[in-house]
Symmetry: C2
Subunit: 410 residues, 2 copies
């Protein structure tokens, strides 16, 4: 008998039929003797419907009141799922974030969980009930309703699992696990049995959208075993845990992530003085543009070149800001490129293996793919290449690092 927290997102509860299917799945676990806490999101489309309604009153609605409104989305789902369970003879009870209570700070629309009181849920579980909790929401110290910001339901699941010391937190999604890379790009991509929190974090930050990054951080911090599963298919999914035992078979690289959403900006011939990076990036961040990769080349002739990437939607804004900065500091030239892609190899195995980066560069060189930028972390190497070579690069790397599924197709 295990205590399991199961989280179902908006698509998994997007209709009455799907809620009935979720109830079937929960019942199966319950019949198996497990203690189950279910966390659900709003039915897909509902949160946007509510936000649209609020925006008809005010394009920038009062944050506290927006949370009062948006939180009703999950409140409807918890009631429907509890009804569906009760119809199946499964004892069940629903709670809003406020009822649990999931205490958060008072940052409306993007609150952070401070504490979860598990007593009420523990008592219900002991009494044989399935507990259905509204994801994405909580309550501050003054009793105001808060929401965790979009995608916060994953975080609710993980935080509940941590508070209840659950054996596992299962995140049900529209994919059957975490893959070595996107199967739409590489047919030979394989589902991973296991991946570490660190790897998952890098993959999420690099554009793999399976899990919300905050929930992975949370799971890692409290060491909550996280499992990604398909909502409506059977299968073991992918387990995300601490890298406790270094298995013999552990691959050097766990997966290949990529991202087409970035654009590159370069400013050339800037004086190589202390503070130059801040002079360039300060105005960019003041314009509310987030910067991802940053590369500064070694100086020559007392000037240096400086390159960084931003989200493609922010490209025009960033370019205008950068041109103004360049005029102010007498830089030689500003240029940019939106036809780029970032490809990253991720794996805790690379910590103990030398030459991982060069193996990556070799594989790309063999395909004559030019590398424009390089950035590394302890368990990741990222490169920026011309966008049109993206698929070619990902497939070459997938093969070079022995990730191809035996039975897959090239």
């Amino acid at each position: 008998m295990a205590l399991i927290v199961q989280k179902f997102g908006g698509t998994s509860v997007g209709s009455v039929e799907r809620i009935e299917q979720v109830a079937d799945k929960v019942k199966k676990f319950r019949d198996n003797g497990d203690e189950i806490v279910v966390v659900v999101s709003a039915m897909s489309g509902e949160t946007n419907r509510l936000i649209d309604l609020a925006r008809q009153i005010n394009p920038a609605p009062e944050p506290r009141e927006l949370d009062v409104m948006v939180s009703t989305g999950e409140q409807v789902t918890i009631a429907l799922l509890a009804m569906a369970l009760i119809k199946r003879g499964v004892q069940a009870v629903s709670y809003t974030g406020s009822q649990v209570r999931i205490l958060t700070d008072s940052s409306f629309n993007k609150a952070r969980i401070l504490n979860i009181d598990g007593h009420r849920i523990q008592a219900d579980l002991k009494a044989g009930k399935v507990v259905v909790v509204a994801g994405f929401q909580g309550v501050d110290e003054k009793g105001n309703i808060t929401t965790l910001g979009r995608g916060g339901s994953d975080t609710t699941g993980v935080a509940l699992a941590a508070a209840l010391k659950a054996d596992e937190c299962q995140i049900y999604t529209d994919v059957d696990g975490v893959y070595t890379t996107d199967p739409r790009v590489v047919a030979k991509a394989r589902r991973l049995e296991k991946v570490t929190f660190e790897e998952m974090l890098e993959m999420a930050s690099l554009g793999s959208k399976v899990l919300q990054i905050r929930s992975v951080e949370f799971a890692g911090k409290y060491n909550v075993p996280l499992r990604v599963l398909h909502s409506f298919q059977e299968g073991p999914g992918t387990l995300i845990t601490l890298d406790e035992e270094e298995s013999m078979e552990q691959p050097i690289i766990s997966g290949i992530a990529f991202n087409r959403d970035e654009a590159k900006l370069t400013i050339r011939g800037v004086p190589d003085n202390p503070g130059v990076a801040f002079s360039i990036l300060g105005p960019i961040s003041a314009a509310n543009v987030e910067v991802d990769m940053i590369v500064q080349n070694v100086a020559h002739d007392k000037t240096t070149d400086f390159t960084f990437t931003v989200h493609r939607n922010d490209y025009d804004k960033a370019l205008a800001v950068l041109k103004q900065t360049a005029d102010g500091m007498g830089a030689r030239e500003v240029s940019g490129d939106t036809d780029i892609a970032k490809v990253s190899i991720v794996g805790v195995g690379m910590r103990s293996h030398a030459g991982v980066a060069s193996r990556m560069f070799e594989a790309l060189a063999k395909e004559s793919i030019n590398i424009q930028m390089i950035s590394t972390s302890e368990i990741k190497v990222s490169v920026v290449i011309e966008e049109k070579y993206l698929e070619l690069a990902v497939r070459a790397l997938h093969t070079a690092f022995d990730l191809d599924a035996p039975g897959g197709q090239a």
Copy 2:
């Protein structure tokens, strides 16, 4: 400066445009220096949409979970109205029933208010805020969300006014006040400046749908001055209060109510024994049919006739039950009639005036309208007549009791 509780129903907040209009009205009072608490219902249609959704899961949804769901309707409205007020520069804050807290018993779907904590609202009012409260909902001692049953928002308004010792509870509706009778039937009907709680109760129970009967009871019990007003027209409305000073001009009759929704059932030749009324009506109420008027004629030949009315929708069910009862007790005959109507004259003035009933009967006799049943209370006389004479009877009584507006048309 007065403390006013204003209640707006589902139609008054049925769209974003109407919510904006309500915000304009609230702002006008606030600018006038009044302290305002606003109680709102769910946007019209929303409660039914939620109930339909629940019924897709289970035609008889779990009552606790139904309340979790249905209560989201008002939660959306309070947030939208608060946003609309804030947009107008009016400080405002919204509260759910649970947040206030409006403590109820645990009768889900039809809970009764036990207590209201006014401290939070008082503090907000003192800070200059308009407080927007979700009608129709509360929370039980264990923190479960409850709803007061349909139409309960009026009751929330009155209960809040009582708890806050408000100067007035204003109920905004789609009519501009309480009329001497339905203006669609009698063109000379007049809006009443004032009416007593007792009269209003009788009128409501007799089919005048302006106010929910429970809210009038509540207002009478706690002596909360209640005012019925039009949501989107200017005007003083009708004030409902205690009958404190007997004014010289007080009319004997305040209004004429009528009801076409009843049907009549008669059982003839039943033994005139003790307990006969229970033998007849016991099975009817066991079948969940509510009985309104009851008349038992004086016995002759050791048998008696017994007549009562039920809602027309329950007529077939009641007739079947009654036939079975008649067989069991050897009654002579069972008959029924759905083409009837009930007409009632209501007024606290009749307490001190003799001959009110005979004046009524005289007016009907002059029009050759036959009276089938008669029932009286301290401030009301009701008769059942053939339905086709209803309009004629109401107009005749309206004139006979000097209720016609001077400028009105016959």
